[in-house]
Symmetry: C2
Subunit: 385 residues, 2 copies
């Protein structure tokens, strides 16, 4: 096991009717900016519920944070924070709203150019406004971690940033808030949590027995419930488990003390930035090809994955690995998530465009061993066609 630090002070308020409790965790005198996305929280009644829980506090609203939140949009929120002297940010939404809110929290306290936050991956953050979260879409885990991803539209760049100052102070996880989600977003959430787990699990063995068992537990639960969730929109326990799995998949726990990969994410980010493909869908495209190309480096963990997650005990090593990868692809497809670039009308000329972006963003030594050069990424992307 590798040495690690684990620290996660976010308070989780899990279950039905928990929005009512947020008032206990926000200072009574706070002036709150409530950030949200496309406005579904108005239709579902969640906005009303949140406003009721905020009571007498002054609340300013900022809607319109888009999927893959953009620097350009978020800077409008930063301007409002400064003008209105906001001192608490409340994100009501999914990963994009929360990531965006984290950026606003840091950028509002930043005296330099806020782009510097993205360029330094967050290491330049010296202060941030406090954040609370009401989660309406399980996927990214952003509700219980200290990172975010923001897109700079003008340069088609998706940048991740991290800071210990960006943990939400609390996050409400009410599974009933996901009942009204479109199937596409539900499926995306399952794929996202699955690939987050894989990025921290399918590397090389370091005798992280506990981490492996926990990661496998998340994967098994996603496989058991993922497809069912699409057909049972109001099954509380299914939604509750998927919600808690997605949070645990990226709150630092399963990645503590083990190597991490994240190459599928880095390549996927380019696909989203160039073609606006949903984040989770880019992961579903890249992962099966990545595992195929990297199977020698990942051999031992792939065999463990085949056995413990897919219960594959027959065949030689090569066959078991191939079957595990093919079952992974089938799982995504059964969720209605296409796993080929061709399904998104992309072809080999696009592969070169994606590679050019990877090069521009210095993504030329990816993966747990930094072995994924541009040439390896070309092999992966070619296999994705």
């Amino acid at each position: 096991m590798l040495n690690f630090d684990f620290y996660n002070p976010t308070r989780i308020l899990f279950g039905q009717q928990r929005i009512a409790d947020i008032g206990k965790h926000i200072p009574p005198q706070a002036k709150v900016l409530l950030l949200y996305g496309g406005g579904s929280i108005k239709a579902t009644g969640t906005l009303k519920e949140v406003l009721a829980a905020l009571g007498e506090r002054q609340v300013v609203q900022f809607g319109g944070i888009e999927p893959n939140p953009s620097y350009e949009t978020l800077m409008q929120a930063v301007a409002i924070v400064k003008e209105q002297k906001i001192d608490f940010l409340l994100a009501v939404g999914g990963g994009s709203v929360i990531d965006g809110t984290k950026f606003v929290a840091a950028a509002s306290m930043c005296e330099d150019d806020a782009l510097h936050i993205l360029k330094t991956r967050g290491s330049s953050i010296k202060a941030a406004l406090p954040i609370g979260v009401v989660l309406t879409l399980s996927a990214t885990g952003s509700e219980m971690n200290n990172g975010g991803v923001v897109t700079h539209k003008s340069t088609q760049t998706k940048s991740a940033f991290f800071s210990p100052l960006l943990f939400p102070q609390f996050a409400v996880l009410d599974p009933t808030k996901t009942y009204t989600l479109p199937t596409r977003q539900l499926a995306n959430g399952v794929v996202d949590a699955f690939v987050h787990t894989i990025e921290q699990y399918l590397t090389y063995p370091v005798n992280g027995y506990v981490q492996d068992r926990f990661a496998e537990g998340l994967l098994l639960t996603l496989i058991e419930l993922g497809e069912k969730s699409l057909h049972n929109p109001e099954d509380y326990d299914i939604r509750a488990n998927l919600m808690w799995v997605a949070t645990l998949a990226l709150n630092g726990l399963i990645g503590a003390g083990v190597p991490q990969d994240w190459s599928t994410h880095m390549i996927g980010h380019e696909l989203t930035a160039l073609y606006n493909i949903d984040h989770a869908r880019t992961l579903a495209i890249v992962l099966p090809a990545m595992l195929t190309v990297r199977q020698d480096a990942k051999r031992e963990k792939l065999l463990q994955y085949a056995q413990r997650v897919w219960h594959i005990n027959e065949g030689n090593e090569q066959q078991r690995i191939e079957l595990a990868i093919s079952k992974t692809r089938d799982f995504f497809e059964r969720l209605g998530v296409d796993t080929r670039l061709s399904a998104y009308n992309l072809d080999s000329t696009d592969v070169e465009k994606i590679l050019a972006q990877l090069q521009a963003h210095k993504m030329t030594a990816l993966g747990e061993k930094r072995e994924i050069t541009l040439e390896v990424s070309r092999q992966v992307l070619t296999l994705c066609l």
Copy 2:
């Protein structure tokens, strides 16, 4: 899944050579009381290492905290804190030292009779000194939770107390610090972590898929590594996994959103208070009998436990349950931990003494459904003979 709050702000510094980092997490001007147990930390060099990491800070030492730390001993430390104006407590040891330090943290800030803390199970705690931990023995999980157990010697009462103010600010988990532990303490630690997990897992199903998978992951790891650890005192990865398992078994995670039992602990506490039997050994005595007596109420989870933890797939339900319980007992015995009261020279007259203590301490409705009356405890204890 049940509604839950999860909050755990303790920072874990895991791995070799991590004691050197504690200075970053204690205020430079702090006046530190360093609390420890029997003094093995002097022989092993850990004390020296801790003092070096504390640098120029003023440090007062308080040794002699006993296993099952007593109120009487701890009040001596409270007197020192007050006299010397201590403002940071550093526990260097295992669960007893950490639990004791938590009591000192609260009692030092308490204006009433400090016994009140125990009588209110900690709910009367209004303030506590900050605590840091250097763990030398994995077992109780106290290094990453907000509870403790203290024995009031004069009344032979073991009392648990909890407060959100009692989370350690940091805990150093250096697996090499457990290399010199006696086999007995190692085995106790494995049993303790095992039964902590069982108390939060073997109840009744609430569709906590994730919690079940995580609990099973901890149990599988303890079974895989527990006995090996006794014969491989300097195998880093075995010690590292056991250390992390024990912490995760009682940091609030696996118990969040599911029913909890704790009846084995409540009865075990009386055995320790009356006969000074090691805490873990009392659990190993009570658990197999408790599962046997409670098998109807726990039927579904016992079958799941049999299948997923012990890989028992043959036989009818009754046979599978009995085999799972018998494998549990065998596991403890193979660790060198006796599982019968008779092995500790206790007999049926002692059963009555234990029951009288349970009654005196109002432990008359135990378990996840509060169904364990004194009469059920009598059945359990009789089966323990």
